[in-house]
Symmetry: C2
Subunit: 415 residues, 2 copies
Amino acid sequence: MTRNLPGNLQVRADRIADDIDGLAGLTEPDKPWTRRAFTPMFLKGRHYLNRRFKEAGLETRIDAAGNLVGLRKGKAGNGTIMLGSHSDTVPNGGRFDGIAGVAAALEVARSLNDAGVQLEHDLEIVDFLAEEVSIFGVSCIGSRGMLGLRPSEWLERQVEGVTLAEGIRSVGGNPALIGSRDDIKAFLELHIEQGPVLENERIDIGVVTAISGIARIEILVEGRADHAGTTPMGLRLDALSAASHIVLGIERTATDLSRGPSHFAATVGEFVMEPNAANVVPSRVRMLIDARAIDRAVMEAFSDAVATLCVEVVSKCGVSITAPRRISDNPPSLMSEKVVALLEESTAGLSLSSRRMVSGAGHDAAYLNSAAPTAMVFIPCREGRSHTAEEWAENDDITLGAAVLYETVLKLDKE
Amino acid sequence: MTRNLPGNLQVRADRIADDIDGLAGLTEPDKPWTRRAFTPMFLKGRHYLNRRFKEAGLETRIDAAGNLVGLRKGKAGNGTIMLGSHSDTVPNGGRFDGIAGVAAALEVARSLNDAGVQLEHDLEIVDFLAEEVSIFGVSCIGSRGMLGLRPSEWLERQVEGVTLAEGIRSVGGNPALIGSRDDIKAFLELHIEQGPVLENERIDIGVVTAISGIARIEILVEGRADHAGTTPMGLRLDALSAASHIVLGIERTATDLSRGPSHFAATVGEFVMEPNAANVVPSRVRMLIDARAIDRAVMEAFSDAVATLCVEVVSKCGVSITAPRRISDNPPSLMSEKVVALLEESTAGLSLSSRRMVSGAGHDAAYLNSAAPTAMVFIPCREGRSHTAEEWAENDDITLGAAVLYETVLKLDKE
């Protein structure tokens, strides 16, 4: 839906649309829109962005962590205001996830040029490397790398004989250098919401106050493989049946916790049954729970409830279940209240509607937040869909978000 | 457990043990006990059996359907009494499943020789080709083929560029000939029970009165792939959660039906979820139900209950579910009452305990039953386990079953 944009915007919708359409053209042709980090198509996207950055007068470089950085010089010695997101995608996923944030950040730089604004601070526009789970199985490689938060053992991860270290070198980075930045005064990231709240409530801007923590919890159910035809119903140890009780218990618990005051969601995203043969009683199920919480206490309550649930299912079904194991656990990230307040001021100044919200998804901003005052701007997306070919955001909505970034950069620059 | 065998047996335990141990030695070395039809290891087993058949004085041939047949001539023109089972195995499955029946049948022929018995009928000992689900995805290829019941389109099934027709030729059969036998007077098959009933009730012999019908029912659940972090619990269409309700509903229904007067069991043996990615709400589940019933009315009641269950889950969870589809449906097979009665007479004559029972598993006997009066002898197996490396039957229990076959052949011969 195209809307009548307010007349007071300093940013231009057409240039944002050009950037996004240009990147959309650089996709694996048989599965739009795919531009996974470290692939040749990703490098084509990087070349395109590098040219657009330069056309905007930015001084470009690839930093040691493999991020594409465009610098707009300010007065020396005052530090850096950073804007950015990522241009890599999941497979088949997303014209806008990440890309909208890079295009909006770039448009801020161009619009500052148009207005002849000389900032007190350096401004950096960043396309972070491999925000999505990459072919190496890990995510946010560039933002972690920039701040020295990338686990050193990751460099040895291999895909088809290629290490992540070689991957970082292939995009122009230097994996031997450990990142460190103490000059960042603030970081802002615009992103599509990836949820339905803004669209449903017809709100222009989501001001993100926190990014959920993410725990991944593995459960293994061990039953017994028996002949499906000859084993009486009452004498089975059916791992699938036991696992189904657990799936439904997790859903009940997560739904209850999601009705509390802070964001919570849990999903059994991976579920593999063995031996998966038509005539054999299922002997084993491995499942992986993805749990997201803003409040650590809620995450712990969930974790405890899952452990109790497993004990109940063992008692009910006779199978064995390994104690749930957290295979990863990233803490929640609370955004800077000061930057959140500036974003709200900018939104109000532009007469846009806004609400505070939390992000259920992870973002590079969670890592930047550990080094500098950080907040995010969410804009609506259609039906809350993302990580799918159908993902869609209106260019005008992105433009409004870019205008909020623009005004907030000016405010941050004056601080 | 070795027992004191009664002194009135005409068959010898040691020769049965030799046959079974000999075949057990012919296994894929890294996964005992594996001798899948059409593999080189299967042909090694066939060569071994052919030699043992010849040592017993049998005239051996491979029939057009690929079965190994050993003939002990009787008086001309009176037809054939047939005994047999199969020497192929599932992967990692079974020292005794099928093999015990071939060894017991062969021992009957040898014992008739020892006793100098001249039968009125020809006696044939048969190792049926590919009773288990073979590399070509289908089972009971030899017994169906012998009787003209093998679907003609099966011959074109391919595995790695080899057709089933070529597979049948490779074991010495002639797939161009359509099987037909009108000379079979009766068929008997000994088999391990593959269930726990005889062991639990400490009964020597199960006289099988029927083989279950087997229906395979496919269900597809379609939800919606959404971001696991950002999609609120209440706005999801989670295919795994819906499928879990179905799994538990099937288990409840099957358990209820299994308490009725006739054998019933149902298993969700295949269950595959997509996209199976940690951070994506499950969008799709395919499941395949294996349902076994002696009574067609019970099978239909189950099928109706599953359809109703799917409608309820659609209404509860909002997902779509395709109407359950029967992708195969083999009717139950009721054994010959006359042959069942003769088996019971033989059992009583040997002072063995017996009970009537039904087979939840399919067997070559189900196909032979369509051409000749047929029944089966079950012998106990440890904990009811089968299709697993741990499958075990006591040689003395097999020997008692062979003795029942021996006595019953004499009775059939006099009819």
